[in-house]
């Protein structure tokens, strides 16, 4: 591999053509070998194409997540595509490891964590956010006062400052902070807000007024159900940041949705368990043991199901099949 020299684009095009052609079963391997043998530069071109393709394939999901973040920012800021992206990898690396973001006026910036790791985000005004794995938020404006939350779970630590407020939007709900620490979790067609310090107000276009949620309480909003306020142990809120999932009387479907996010597996809760609730603590680890642990604690069974796309696990009654 002549690593230094630049490769003619025409040759890269030929290499790409061969790479595509070779995917078919009746590919012309002889023609390919003749092409390779004709000129050593053909080999370099093919190396280049194959290596880039392999590297991209390996990181496809992570690159796509980051590129989407970029596209989201771009869409809201036409004509200034380059504002965030220097040509150096360092600029992008800063994004990956979650450094405080560049401040550009009237921008929207997406932060997403991958399936394996939590991620910390520091925003203007001293707001610190921890994203649990496979979570995603969009921060609007340079003063970061409006945050859309799209998926997963996030813990917000907001500095008390009477002159500014922070709004977290989940669907058409708005969570307005009053200088506080709280956790928002989106799963199972709804969301819940749990407050560990201070208080938040929750409102929506479709409801009158707002619901105040104070420390040690959580508000659960699930599709087709009334908002439900219930007490929680404040110290356990956001305990996933320390590697534990703690629940008090949480619907099993909701616990399953969390486990699904951490394990990357689809989980179906048997309809017979629909009314089931779980109180207790699970150790997250690498996510792979969560469901088995839950099943053991609750004396339930886990079966693998092969329903079309990939792994699905069914949580059911022990002994029942």
């Amino acid at each position: 591999m002549t690593a230094q020299s630049d490769i003619d684009e025409g040759l890269i095009e030929q290499a790409l053509h061969w790479q595509t052609t070779l995917e078919s079963d009746d590919a012309d391997w002889n023609g390919y070998m003749v092409w390779l043998e004709a000129d050593p530069r053909h080999r370099d071109a093919f190396d280049a194409v194959a290596l880039v393709a392999a590297t991209v394939d390996e990181h496809k999901d992570a690159v796509r997540a980051l590129s989407e973040a970029h596209v989201a920012a771009e869409a809201r800021r036409p004509g200034r595509r380059m504002w965030l992206w220097g040509s150096s990898a360092a600029a992008a690396l800063a994004l990956v490891v979650g450094m405080p973001m560049l401040r550009a006026p009237e921008t929207a910036m997406t932060y997403a964590s991958d399936a394996e790791a939590s991620r910390s985000v520091s925003l203007a005004g001293g707001t610190a956010i921890t994203l649990s794995p496979a979570s995603r938020i969009v921060v609007h404006g340079k003063d970061a006062r409006r945050i859309e939350m799209n998926s997963g779970e996030a813990y917000f630590a907001v500095k008390h400052d009477p002159s500014r407020s922070l709004t977290v939007e989940v669907g058409h709900y708005r969570i307005t902070d009053i200088g506080t620490h709280f956790s928002v979790n989106i799963s199972d067609g709804g969301f819940r807000v749990a407050v560990s310090e201070g208080a938040v107000a929750v409102s929506s276009d479709s409801t009158e007024g707002e619901v105040k949620v104070t420390a040690g309480h959580q508000l659960m909003a699930r599709q087709g159900e009334e908002l439900a306020l219930s007490p929680v142990v404040a110290a356990e809120i956001g305990s996933w940041r320390q590697g534990r999932l703690s629940y008090s009387n949480a619907p099993l479907s909701l616990v399953a949705a969390d486990i699904s996010r951490y394990s990357g597996k689809r989980i179906i809760v048997d309809p017979a368990l629909e009314a089931g609730h779980f109180s207790g603590t699970l150790v997250i680890g690498d996510g792979s043991r969560l469901l088995a642990d839950l099943a053991a604690v609750m004396d339930l069974s886990v079966h693998a199901e092969h329903a079309g796309n990939g792994d699905t696990l069914r949580l059911g009654r022990a002994g029942g099949r």
Binding site: E9, G10, E13, L22, P40, R43, A50, T55, V63, R81
Partner: protein
């Protein structure tokens, strides 16, 4: 050609050995490496769980192709590791005795992250057409024909965009590897 048994794949290998050697030589340009890869291919063929193989020749050829790419990838990672070692050179980290650090997951993750960052940054800086074609094809999984339809350009236009993207990304990955 379809042969259902382990013996079948081994026989296929025997049948195509000369061609495979030719392919590996053409692909690597290095007789010693080609021979080495051929050995490895033979071992893999023998370890392969038995089962039917459709189109055995293409199957073996693809295996050979993939092995070459795996080595290129390994070389690319090694360059990145070497660079990291150079960056953090200490008295006990002498070049040449660096262990093959399969267990240093933290470092591997770091390298993976840097690769992701390098790629993302390079993609973002591509000319618009090349970037869109690349994203649709490589990240969204659309075929060249589908990309052409989506962007309202010809298939050869897509290929040109892809060539620009590949050239640019190769450069970025090389620069990153060299540090």
């Amino acid at each position: 050609m379809s042969l259902g048994e382990k013996d079948g794949v081994e026989a296929l290998y025997g049948l195509h050995q000369a061609e495979l050697r030719r392919l590996l030589l053409a692909r690597t340009g290095d007789p010693a490496e080609a021979e080495d890869l051929l050995q490895e291919l033979w071992l893999r063929v023998r370890q392969r769980p038995s089962g039917p193989v459709a189109n055995g020749r293409a199957y073996l050829f693809r295996m050979a192709q993939n092995m070459v790419v795996d080595r290129l990838r390994e070389r690319q990672r090694r360059m990145a590791r070497d660079r990291r070692w150079a960056d953090h050179a200490t008295d006990f980290a002498q070049p040449g005795i660096e262990p093959i650090d399969q267990h240093d997951n933290a470092e591997q993750r770091m390298i993976a992250r840097e690769e992701v960052a390098t790629l993302t940054s390079a993609i973002a800086n591509l000319p618009d057409g090349a970037r869109r074609a690349f994203e649709l094809h490589k990240l969204e999984g659309l075929s060249h024909a589908e990309v052409a339809t989506r962007l309202g350009i010809s298939k050869s236009g897509v290929e040109k965009h892809m060539a620009v993207a590949m050239k640019y990304l190769r450069r970025a990955l090389l620069d990153w590897g060299k540090g």
